[in-house]
């Protein structure tokens, strides 16, 4: 059997044959259950031990940034749904905020609350899906269904609010395209109640499980310096000890009104990334509870704007904290309804590129664990 391919794959330094062992290259993906999409990892293995990982991107490149130049700002919102489809409300919000900054559009009070609540619900939803797939990647298939059960209730709220379950296209410059229905607040309350119970159950089933702890603690350690130098953000960076959350340090919308903590990890290993995300869910629930108390029951949900939005010549930038990290939109405009150039800064691109640093020296199974806790969404990497 010819396991050692004659050609060294791209991205690896040339290897010198060893008399004792033979290293071989394993092609993980583009179709692999653990890569959550069309990510391709070329893994250099010595037995079960990972010697190096080279991620190959671009399998789902759709040139969304170029497409953006031929569509108006409002039309572009539905394209941002297709970046990180698990935090599409936040992506929508980011583009809308960049347009609002450029065109000087304000958002009414109720609209701001709607935005925050929807975004935090989306963060809960995304983290629940992450928890579900995390369990599945580690072999606990029951966790997958439990996570999806809880996520489904939040997805139902989204369907109630904007009619879509995945590609929402809900926010518009100046607010959102429709008001939330009357059932919104009671349903959010019901979800929060269910979440409290579910989080305890999750701790019983996965979080406290010895096998999970043994498989995650000390695995895939990301240091603070590496996290900063690779540009990681979101739970991945916070688990490594980088104390940065856009919601707190560069508050957008009305996030500065809420009282919430930014959970930090100590070791930067997979278990820290797990606990940070679980804790983030609790913090999102805290924000939602505050929102329910303070949200004005009446008032406009969207400020009146012109049908055709034109941004004066110049550039504007906005960034939000999506479920996976810092998402930025940079618009260069030339006083036309369409952007001259639109650039998205996606968190997953940076987060996935650390995989070689953190998975090297561990086993193949740990590579899967690392990938599960990095929680990449592949369409966001390639755009």
């Amino acid at each position: 059997m010819d396991l050692v391919s004659a050609q060294v794959p791209a991205g690896f330094p040339e290897t010198h044959p060893n008399e004792l062992t033979e290293e071989f290259y394993l092609n993980m993906g583009p179709q692999h259950p653990a890569t959550h999409g069309v990510l391709r990892l070329v893994v250099k293995l010595d037995g079960e031990t990972v010697k190096g990982v080279v991620p190959h991107l671009g399998y789902i490149h759709r040139s969304i940034e170029k497409m953006a130049e031929s569509e108006t700002y409002v039309q572009n919102i539905h394209l941002t749904d297709r970046l990180d489809y698990l935090s599409c409300h936040m992506n929508n919000l980011c583009l809308c905020m960049a347009v609002e900054k450029g065109a000087n559009i304000g958002v009414p009070e109720r609209g701001e609350y709607i935005r925050i609540m929807i975004c935090e619900l989306q963060r809960l939803q995304s983290h629940l899906l992450w928890w579900a797939t995390f369990g599945m990647d580690l072999g606990a298939l029951t966790a997958f269904l439990y996570g999806f059960d809880q996520r489904e209730q939040i997805t139902d709220i989204f369907e109630d609010v904007c009619g879509a379950r995945l590609t929402m296209n809900y926010f518009r410059p100046g607010g959102s395209y429709c008001d939330v229905p009357d059932t919104f607040i009671p349903r959010v309350k019901a979800v929060l109640e269910g979440m409290e119970k579910s989080l305890d159950e999750y701790a019983d089933l996965v979080g406290g499980n010895m096998i999970i702890q043994e498989r995650c603690q000390g695995i895939g350690v990301l240091t603070k310096e590496k996290a900063i130098s690779y540009g990681c953000s979101g739970p991945v960076a916070r688990a490594a000890g980088v104390d940065y959350d856009v919601r707190r340090d560069d508050p957008y919308g009305i996030y500065d009104r809420f009282d919430f903590d930014v959970p930090l990890g100590k070791n930067g290993d997979c278990y820290d990334r797990y606990t940070v995300r679980i804790e983030e869910m609790r913090q999102s629930m805290r924000i939602l509870e505050q929102c329910i108390k303070e949200m004005p029951s009446e008032g406009p949900y969207r400020s009146k704007i012109k049908t055709v939005i034109k941004i004066p010549e110049g550039h504007s930038y906005a960034n939000v904290e999506t479920a996976r990290g810092l998402f930025g939109t940079y618009i260069v405009s030339d006083n036309k309804p369409k952007p001259y150039r639109l650039k998205y800064r996606s968190p997953n691109f940076s987060n996935v590129n650390i995989i070689d640093e953190v998975a090297k020296g561990f086993k193949v199974a740990d590579l899967v664990t690392v990938l599960a806790t990095l929680d990449p969404v592949i369409p966001d990497i390639d755009r």
Binding site: M1, P33, E48, L138, L141, T142, V206
Partner: protein, 376 residues
């Protein structure tokens, strides 16, 4: 008419023997056959052998089908869903439909796979399962063969299944399969040690290697079963037995050789159709065998929990009930636990299970010499 009449009479005689015969002395089916053949004992042996083999094949395929169905149902209800619901009422024909589909599916062989090993591999685990099934004592007289070294025979043949996986993994010429094959090889060899120590403990305390004799030492109610008869130690070694058989069966949390989120499908990545279903079938028959062994060694085999309930000829009902409980335990483990990593699995075996089994074996010797038994 007369021909069918004779056959009908024969069947009636057989049923009469099965339901009214004295099962406490001998197997009534075999006795009836011997009665028909009269002097010609060779013919009677051949007919009895044919009946036994046919029954074994039926048990193997039927139990696999039933187990697959129940596994899907149990997993469904544990995961807040219903499991198969479409084919037949509550989906009871689902596995039959799956089996038919697998049977007619194209068996696809990769171009670079090794022809001989690729097609040899699926039959080895299946063969091993059938060979062990022949010595499982379903009742006092429902057993195809009763060798004196029954438990040793089981342990020897159980090692065959691992070869099938390794050969299949190597013959597929797939890197994922190779990793899986190496994993399963390491796993099988390591866990067999602890499995044998757990078996040896029972052989030590019961003083027999014959499966029927082991069961007979547990006569007389629930507290005479080895799991309770040896205070605490019996329970501990039962747990060890369940853990090691779980590992031998390649089921979660030890399903490293099939780890679908890491290796695709592991050793059967390249198999499809009937070859795949052979692996699949063997997996479930092996589960039945492991549960039967646990019943035989620790739970009193075909004995009822109370001596008053021990009707001759109905022991297989008790045996089946106990076996089902163990199988449910396997289901329960699989749908709760995540997977271990290869080095953790090895650590668990060599750093915990093996020393602990050895200590329990030593303790069993102490218990035996001091006569620390519960029950009679």
């Amino acid at each position: 008419m007369s021909f069918f009449g004779t056959i009908w009479d024969g069947v009636g005689e057989m049923f009469d023997a099965i339901f009214n015969g004295d099962w406490s002395k001998e197997n009534q089916i075999g006795a009836t056959v011997r009665g028909w053949c009269g002097e010609n004992e060779t013919l009677a042996d051949w007919i009895n052998a044919g009946i036994s083999l046919a029954t074994l094949a039926a048990i193997a395929s039927l139990s696999a089908m039933v187990l697959v169905y129940f596994e899907r149902k149990v997993s469904g209800h544990m995961q807040r869903r219903l499991g198969p619901m479409r084919t037949g009422p509550h989906g009871i024909f689902q596995t039959l439909a799956d089996g038919i589909k697998l049977f007619f599916k194209e068996g696809f062989r990769p171009k670079s796979a090794d022809f001989f090993t690729y097609y040899l591999a699926p039959f080895i685990p299946m063969m091993g399962s059938f060979m062990i099934l022949a010595v499982i004592p379903f009742d006092q007289h429902l057993q195809v063969a009763n060798p004196e070294l029954g438990i040793i025979y089981v342990a020897a043949v159980a090692g065959l299944a691992g070869f099938g996986l390794i050969i299949g993994a190597w013959g597929s010429n797939n890197k994922y399969s190779l990793l899986s094959g190496m994993r399963s090889g390491a796993q099988m060899i390591s866990y067999e040690v602890s499995l044998l120590l757990a078996i040896l403990l029972i052989v030590l305390v019961s003083g027999h290697t014959n499966l029927q004799e082991i069961i007979k030492t547990q006569e007389g109610g629930i507290f005479n079963w080895w799991i309770f008869k040896l205070p605490v130690l019996g329970l501990i070694s039962f747990v060890f037995f369940i853990i090691t058989t779980n590992a031998e069966l390649n089921r979660t949390p030890f399903d490293l050789s099939e780890a679908e989120s890491e290796l695709g499908a592991g050793f059967h990545t390249e198999y499809s159709g009937i070859c795949f279903s052979m692996f699949f079938l063997a997996e479930y028959v092996n589960m039945l065998i492991a549960a039967s062994l646990a019943t035989t060694l620790f739970l009193g085999g075909w004995h009822a929990p109370h001596p008053g309930l021990d009707y001759p000829g109905l022991g297989w009902l008790w045996f089946g009930a106990k076996t089902s409980c163990i199988i449910f335990l396997y289901f329960w483990f699989r749908w709760t636990f995540p997977r271990l990593r290869i080095d953790q699995m090895m650590d668990f075996e060599w750093r915990f299970l093996l020393p602990a089994s050895m200590v329990s074996l030593l303790l069993a010797g102490v218990f035996m010499s001091m006569g620390w038994y519960i029950g009679d």
